[in-house]
């Protein structure tokens, strides 16, 4: 990436969603979505690992979820970058197997193989990348990827890792509601204060932005990482299970009921009442009717939680509801009428409908991608850090150096001292979160400042400097002011995949590709050898050759056949094949070689390899 590069760099925006994913590209004043061959923009974020080792991603995988309920992985985004009790909470709702693996991190087990959620997300990203490449007719190696605003550093890093595994350079992680606001305000006629309400499949975000002459400034952001449209589906699922008298301990039942619930939710967004016929294995079909009022009563507490977040975001921005000029809705679940009603009631204005809630995030990401590629200098996005950053002080308290909702880049310096006489080193534990005690926040990293001159406690003056760049990446420097001793680190979460793991997974995928290629080549070679043996014999019967030549050709063909029967490796087969073809080629009478060629073609034609590439 250099300034003199004459050709504008092509960078796509990718909305890596809990339910669906999609890519978009900057086009003219706005952006356009990249669709697949059928014109579909949304790629379900679903991966199905078939028993034969093949993998299906996207719509094909979603179609297979009832056929392979415990092999079809969806909502991996709810697991990415998570560990410990959070994993158990999510796992209880999922029909595939999730457990805590190494370092308490979420792992997904399918057919005896273990996957990190990052890997599943990488498979989805690869599918999105392939779709985008075929829509553009061009290779893509970089992207801006969106995440919920409320994602912490571990979840963001895990998303970056997924991109790397998928062969994409992640130029920036952008918050979903921020991206949606870019798509909304890009036409330049929307200067003012906008509230983005983003109810995705697995997370809820609300952000307030001020749009001012091409500068999009985030004023505040708030949200809930454990609240989304999936939770609406979950409540409906429980209702369906109760009505059907079934229990949720079977993967097939869970997938079937989930699929039914999703359908019901969509229908109830349009009609006052919806009826569903559900057929669970070896049971008579059951009709279940749910009225919208009943559905709304079910989800009301969840919707109220989102409204409380809306008010918090307004207060954090030091505004009142009257200051909001427009409300933008993002995420499929904002089609639920109760959501729209409650927002209108509290904010005094109907949400605006000019932006497609399914596409806005990807479109906005594409706009930011174009800015970061250096193609558009008219636009600037000023984003904030979603969670406070600080260090652990004496007694386990979390001392915040950078407060959440600070515009990035940002920096802060704070002075500390030692607690023990003669102390020559201090350990700095860096945390992220809003809670008062460090143990309730998430640790991002740790480092030690060595070489302090022994002094009485409280005398050394240790300046700790935090600097957060435009990517939200934190760099911490500690300096002892009397001696000038300095130590610093770039904080990459100690959480999630380690750098080594990412490297190993990358190598694995390259190695696997190599293995796959070798295996494929061996199969091709065997087929070719078989065809040569049969073809040569047929040709020999047709041509009349001197006995000694007939003999040497026959001998060579027999040797090749024996190798095939003994299951010899590719290298030995190749030597024998080469020898045979040399013999047949040197035979003076080209009748035979042409006869060999002809029958070879016939043989290979009837022997095409059935496995897909």
């Amino acid at each position: 990436m250099s300034a003199t590069d004459p050709k504008p760099r092509l960078v796509v925006g990718i909305d890596l969603g809990t339910t669906n994913s999609l890519a978009a590209i900057r086009a003219g004043k706005g952006a356009r979505v990249l669709r697949d061959r059928d014109g579909e923009p949304l790629i379900p974020s679903v991966v199905c690992f078939l028993p034969n080792g093949e993998m299906v991603v996207g719509r094909g995988a979603k179609d297979l979820r009832l056929q392979h309920p415990d092999r079809t992985v969806f909502s991996a985004k709810r697991l990415i970058g998570r560990a410990g009790a959070e994993v158990d909470r999510e796992a209880a709702l999922l029909p595939y197997r999730v457990h805590r693996g190494d370092r308490d991190l979420a792992r997904i087990e399918v057919g005896g193989r273990d996957y990190a959620p990052e890997q599943v997300s990488a498979f989805v990203l690869q599918e999105v990348k392939a779709t985008a490449e075929s829509a553009l007719g061009q290779r893509i190696d970089a992207a801006v990827i969106t995440v919920p605003a409320w994602f912490d550093d571990a979840q963001r890093q895990a998303t970056r890792d997924a991109a790397q595994l998928a062969g994409l350079e992640c130029l920036r992680i952008v918050n979903e509601p921020t991206a949606a606001a870019l798509a909304y305000g890009i036409d330049g006629s929307k200067d003012g204060t906008v509230l983005v309400y983003d109810l995705g499949g697995g997370t809820f975000d609300v952000s307030i932005l001020r749009i001012d002459e091409g500068v999009f400034r985030v004023l505040s952001t708030s949200g809930d990482t454990h609240l989304g449209g999936d939770d609406f589906d979950q409540l409906l699922s429980e209702r369906i299970l109760a009505a059907a008298g079934a229990s949720a301990n079977d993967a097939y039942v869970l997938q079937a009921v989930r699929a039914a619930a999703e359908g019901l939710k969509i229908e109830l967004s349009q009609k006052e009442q919806a009826t569903l016929r559900i057929e669970l294995q070896d049971r008579a079909p059951i009709d279940i009717t749910i009225a919208r009022a009943e559905f709304e009563a079910m989800i009301a507490p969840l919707v109220e939680r989102t409204i409380a977040c809306v008010h918090r975001a307004i207060a954090d921005a030091k505004l009142t509801a009257d200051d909001i000029d427009d409300v933008v809705l993002v995420g499929g679940s904002t089609r639920v009428p109760l959501v729209r009603q409650r927002l209108e009631q509290d904010l005094g204005r109907a949400p605006q409908t000019g932006v497609d809630p399914d596409l806005a995030v990807a479109l906005g990401a594409a706009i930011q991608a174009d800015v970061l590629a250096g193609n558009d200098k008219s636009l600037l996005l000023l984003d904030v850090i979603p969670l406070s950053l600080g260090i652990e002080t004496l007694g386990g308290a979390m001392q915040k150096l950078i407060l959440r909702n600070s515009t990035i880049p940002t920096s802060s310096t704070e002075e500390f001292s030692t607690a023990v006489d003669g102390q020559t080193a201090v350990v700095l534990n860096i945390f992220q979160g809003e809670r008062e005690l460090a143990q309730d926040c998430r640790q991002l990293g740790s480092f030690t400042l060595h070489g302090l001159p022994p002094m009485p406690a409280g005398l050394p003056r240790i300046a700790v400097h935090f600097l957060v760049d435009a990517d939200g990446v934190l760099r911490v420097t500690a300096t002892e002011k009397r001696t000038g001793h300095e130590a610093s680190i770039q904080v990459v979460p100690t959480f999630g995949l380690s750098r080594d793991e990412v490297r190993r997974m990358m190598l694995d995928s390259i190695e696997n590709a190599q293995q796959d290629y070798v295996a494929r080549e061996a199969i091709d070679l065997r087929n070719k050898a078989q065809a040569m043996v049969t073809g040569t014999r047929k040709a020999l019967a047709l041509a009349s050759l001197p006995p000694d030549q007939t003999f040497s050709v026959q001998k060579s063909a027999r040797a090749l056949e024996k190798l095939l029967q003994s299951g010899a490796d590719a290298a030995a087969l190749k030597v024998a094949c080469d020898e045979l073809s040399k013999l047949t080629a040197t035979i003076a009478d080209d009748v035979i070689s042409s006869a060999v060629q002809r029958s070879l073609q016939e043989e290979q034609g009837s022997n095409t390899n059935p496995s897909a590439s």
Partner: protein, 171 residues
């Protein structure tokens, strides 16, 4: 307390050292400086330039945060014009402290319709304190300004607690 990093936000923005600044002018200045210095619009620079752009951009954002909040702006001004005044002004009038205590109690026990009227009253008190602070600054009496700023903390804390109670009630 967020420690000052030796940064003079007024100088970063190229404005006079005074409390009553036109906010819209300041905001436009912020947007203009951001365009000039944000790393996203200056990505091609070399490593040394990159670090400089990053530091400058952080200075602009941090200065804006100080200048756009009236209390933070006052604190920065007092520290610049009379270094140490904030530390010296820490001892508060016992009479004021008694009033502050009453206020905190009122917030803790207020209920129902009282909440809204109390909020209004606290907001008005904040405005009054700020007006006195601004007057002191205009008269270059930074010792008095520092005392007013310390006092304002109690009123602002009471207001924040009240808002938390109101929010907690609706959530």
């Amino acid at each position: 307390m967020m420690g000052p990093t030796g940064l003079d936000p007024f100088t970063v923005f190229g404005v006079e050292h005074r409390l009553d600044l036109d906010m819209r002018t300041l905001e436009r200045r912020f947007l203009q400086l951001s365009r000039e210095c944000h790393p996203d619009l200056h990505r091609a620079a070399g490593a040394a330039d990159c670090a400089a752009v990053l530091t400058r951009s952080a200075e602009i954002n941090d200065s804006w945060r100080t200048l756009s909040d009236r209390w933070e702006r006052a604190r920065a001004l007092i520290e610049l014009r009379s270094p140490g005044a904030m530390d010296r002004g820490r001892t508060l009038d016992p009479e004021f402290l008694a009033t502050a205590l009453e206020l905190a109690e009122e917030v803790a026990f207020a209920d129902g319709p009282d909440l809204a009227s109390l909020r209004q009253r606290l907001n008005a008190t904040c405005d009054d304190v700020f007006a006195e602070l601004a007057r002191a600054c205009a008269e270059d009496d930074f010792a008095a300004a520092a005392r007013r700023l310390h006092e304002s903390r109690y009123v602002r804390k009471a207001l924040a607690d009240l808002d938390a109670r109101i929010q907690g009630g609706t959530a």
